[in-house]
Each structure stands twice: as C-alpha cells, then as structure tokens.
Amino acid sequence: MITTPSVDQLLEGVMLAIEDEIVPSISNPKAHATAQMIQSVLQGVRQMLPVLDAQLAEEHNDMIRTLRETAESLGDAAGDAADRVRERAATFGGRDELPVPVDREVALASYEELGHAIEASFRDLDELLRDGVESAAAAQDVVRAHLMPRYLRDVASIKVHEGFVGRS
C-alpha cells in the first residue's frame, strides 16, 4: 500500500485546495458556507482517524462487559424481557475481546452487532421499568455509564470549532 503521502496528508491537501483554489472564486453565499462545512468535516475526519481503531476496540470490548453487567444488575428479575437481557449476556457478553490493531472489517461487523444488542437492551429495560422492576434502573445505569464516556470522546474527536456554520 502507498503510505506516502499519508491519508492525513491527502486530506490536508484537499482542505488546502479548497481554501486556496476554490473559496476565493466563490461568490454564492451557500456555496461559501458549504466549502466551510467541507473543510470542517475533513478536519474532523483527520482528528478521528488516528484514534479510530483503538476506540473501536475499546468500545467493542466495553460493550461485551456492559452486556454482562446489565444482566447481573437485574438480579433475579423475572419475565421475558429479563430473560432476553440474560440471553444477550450469555451470547454477546461471552464474545472474545478484540486485540489492537484490529481486522477492521471483522471488528466493524462485531461492533455493529454489539451496538444493536446495547440498543435492544434499552427496549427491554424500558419494558421492565414500566412493569415496576426496580433492579432495571440499576441495569439501565450500567448501559448509560458505558455510553457516557463514548459520547464525550466522540465530541472531543469530532469537534473542530465552536458554533455552527450558517447560523449567525
């Protein structure tokens, strides 16, 4: 594979070309705002790429732990929804952790499956909460506590500058 120029250098080149070659010729305000948005997205991608594999593996592995602990938090809660949470702990929660560096394709597929398992947990925990199962609140907190640092990290990775292009 070609490593020079790097992906980061290529993206930087696109950004510079937009800045130097395209923006000076733009007179339409919408096109000007779009050029700014393109540069902003490219900068976000440049910041995301170096941490992507490590974050993918870390979040993948933490979802496995979360699915196990969500079921543990339910204690002896009964019912179909609780059984589904336990089933996920037994299947997804028993998966092998991903090593770093990862096989991107395998990791992404497994990551998506685990993500949908986390998502489905919200539906079942909602059902349990509506049925008055108290331990479901603690189980829900396990899932939320897993997601919180992910969102904070996403913001740190993707945020380029304050504000929103086009909103004055």
Binding site: M37, G115, F122, R123, D141, P149, V155, V165, R167
Partner: protein
C-alpha cells in the same frame, strides 16, 4: 444573473396586486444562514395611478424535497401569520401570500414584508450595545408568547392545519393523545433513522420521555422554533417574531424549553430577563398562573430536541441512502454529535457533565 427570479417575483406580485400599473424588483439578494429555507431579500416598486411605493420584502422558498429537513407548508405558515396579525397583538410582519405552484419558483414559496428592527439579539446581553433594552424586550417577548399561547386554537387554526402539520400522525385531540402520538412518532421515526446504533441515546430519550410524562396543561398554538435568533427588536420592543414554519398545536412548555436550551447554546440571556420579574419563566408564570417549573422545562428541552432530531436524522439517512447529494446532511452528523452529552445530562447519565 438571478435566473429570472426577479421577473417571476414581479409577475407573482402583479397577480396579487392587480391594481398596480407596474411592478419592479430591485436589489434581489440571497440571505445567507439558516438551513431549512432558501431566503432572498428584495425591494418591490409598485406604480399605481402615477404614484410609486417601495416595499421591503422577503422571499422564503422551500428547498427540494430530498434536501428539506422540515416538511411543512408555506400556505399553512402564511395563513397562520395572517391570523396572528388579525387576531392578536403579537408582532409579526405581513405575509403577502404563498405560491404553492412549484412551476413558479421551482418549489413552494411565500413572500413577506421585511421586518424592521435588529436581528442581532446578542447585542442585548453581556453588556452589549443594547443591554439597556434587554428587560423591556424580554418583557414584550414574554407577553407576546403568553398572548400566542392564550389565543384560542379555533381562532388561529380554524381548519385544523396545525394539528399535524408534518403529517406524521400527531393527534392533538387531548393532551394525552398529543403526547402519546408524539412518542409514537419518535419511536417509529427511530426505526427509520436507525443507521447507526451509536445514536441509541435517542431511543433511550424517547422511551424515558414516555415513561415520565409531566402534568397535563392545555394545548395551544406554539411557535415551534422560539429561540433568540427568531425575533427582532428595537426601542425596547419586539418588532417581529419570525420563522413560523414549525408552528403547530403543542404544549406551551415546548416553546419555553426550546428557548431555554437555545438561549444557552446562543450565549444569550433571554431567560434571565426581565430581571425585576425574576426572569422570563417567572414572568410567564405570573402572567399565566401555570407555575411551570425548571424541571418541566428540562423535560421539554428533551422533548423538543427529540422533535427536531427525527427530521434531522431522516435527512442524514436520505443522504446516506444516496437520495440527495446535499453536503449539509453529512455535515449535520458532525454538528449534531456535540448535542449528545447534553441529552445525556438531561437523562442524568452517570458521569454526565453538570
């Protein structure tokens, strides 16, 4: 240079003003900013019986369907603005008409008078050049909102067009049916936008809102995008409430919650004024007797965020599916991520920033 837009504007105005002997369009220019509509400013000169009048106007035009985020009708918006003008003292500028025939402007459009006053509401706060007007402007803004919410739904929406203006199955027959049908809209919408399980915090939000509804309040016609960027002011008064495209029947706390959130994001201080009344919410409560709490506004911040999250993510989904090539909809992915910790905070996620 304007692709014939000036001529089409003149022809439309000539139809709406049949007594005019001649109409000219001048200084036509796009107004940058705002994602939901294409907006142009222009002046129209109207000759009638030897006299000439100049009118400062705005053209608000829908984007193409695949690009649009909010699918609402300019005709409904026009009708509401005119009823607000006729039935209340809420400051709005005249809407001259809606042109729903797409062959005229390419998409449905409406023409309004340009509002006087300053749109730079940040000048009112943090010691800005108009800080001396902040209390009076906020007072008038609050009184206007109270009047809007207090005007009968039958008066402002006699034909029911605002019951479900997006056509997504909302039933405002009662507060309970409004909330239940809105939760269903959110949950059904989540299935359509579920491109990425990482946004499951939205699912959590929708389910949590449904589990913990607040006390019922009478429904009202709400502005739907009541925020510091959507009013103009001058001489201590609001000169116009603008951008009524998301107006609908809803819970009045939606407008207050949205203002509270956007006030924070916009680095303005609308909610802190009028100071002598203890702030915007306290004044609203004094005028209405509703005793709305900050906790209720927190609920409706989440409710309102959900309301916009669905159409925004539907637009992203259409872009991902290749239905449009609009770069904005890719950019929305990046620009919406910073909202997620705020949603987590409202849901009281462990470890959420205070």
């Amino acid at each position: 240079m304007d692709g014939g837009l000036g001529e089409r504007l003149a022809a439309t105005l000539a139809r709406w003003w049949p007594d005019a002997d001649g109409i000219g369009v001048h200084d036509l220019a796009p107004i940058p900013g705002g994602f939901s509509r294409e907006t142009f400013r222009f002046d129209a000169t109207v000759q009638t019986e030897g006299a000439e009048e100049r009118h400062a106007l705005i053209l608000r035009k829908d984007p193409p369907d695949s690009v649009a985020i909010l699918h609402t009708s300019r005709e409904v918006e026009h009708d509401l603005i005119e009823r607000v003008r006729a039935s209340t003292t809420v400051p709005v500028t005249e809407s001259l008409g809606a042109e729903m025939d797409r062959s005229v402007f390419g998409e449905a459009a409406m023409i309004l008078r340009r509002a006087g006053g300053s749109p730079t509401t940040t000048d009112l706060f943090y010691g800005g050049p108009d800080a001396d007007q902040a209390d009076d402007v906020a007072r008038h803004l609050c009184e206007s909102l109270v009047e809007l919410h207090g005007t009968g739904i039958d008066t402002l929406d006699p034909d029911g067009a605002l019951a479900d203006p997006r056509g997504v199955g909302i039933d405002p027959g009662s507060w309970q049916s409004y909330m239940e049908s809105t939760f269903q809209y959110y949950l059904d919408g989540y299935e359509r936008i579920n491109r990425e399980p990482g946004i499951c915090i939205l699912l959590d939000a929708f389910l949590t809102l449904r589990r913990h509804p607040p006390r019922p309040l009478p429904l009202a016609v709400i502005h739907g995008d009541f925020n510091p960027a959507n009013f103009l002011y001058g001489d201590g008064r609001v000169t116009a409430l603008i951008d009524w495209e998301n107006a609908r029947i809803g819970d009045p706390r939606e407008d207050l919650g949205w203002m509270m959130m956007m006030d924070d994001l916009s680095h303005t201080q609308v909610m802190q004024h009028p100071v002598d009344e203890g702030g915007f919410l306290a004044y609203y409560n004094r005028l209405t007797g509703l005793d709305i709490t900050p906790e209720e506004l927190g609920y409706f911040i989440l409710f309102g965020t959900s309301n916009i999250a669905i159409p925004v993510n539907e637009a992203i989904q259409r872009r991902v599916d290749g239905e449009s090539r609009e770069f904005l909809h890719l950019y929305l992915v990046q620009s919406s991520v910073p909202a997620l910790p705020g949603i987590a905070q409202l849901l009281q996620y462990p470890g959420a920033p205070s």
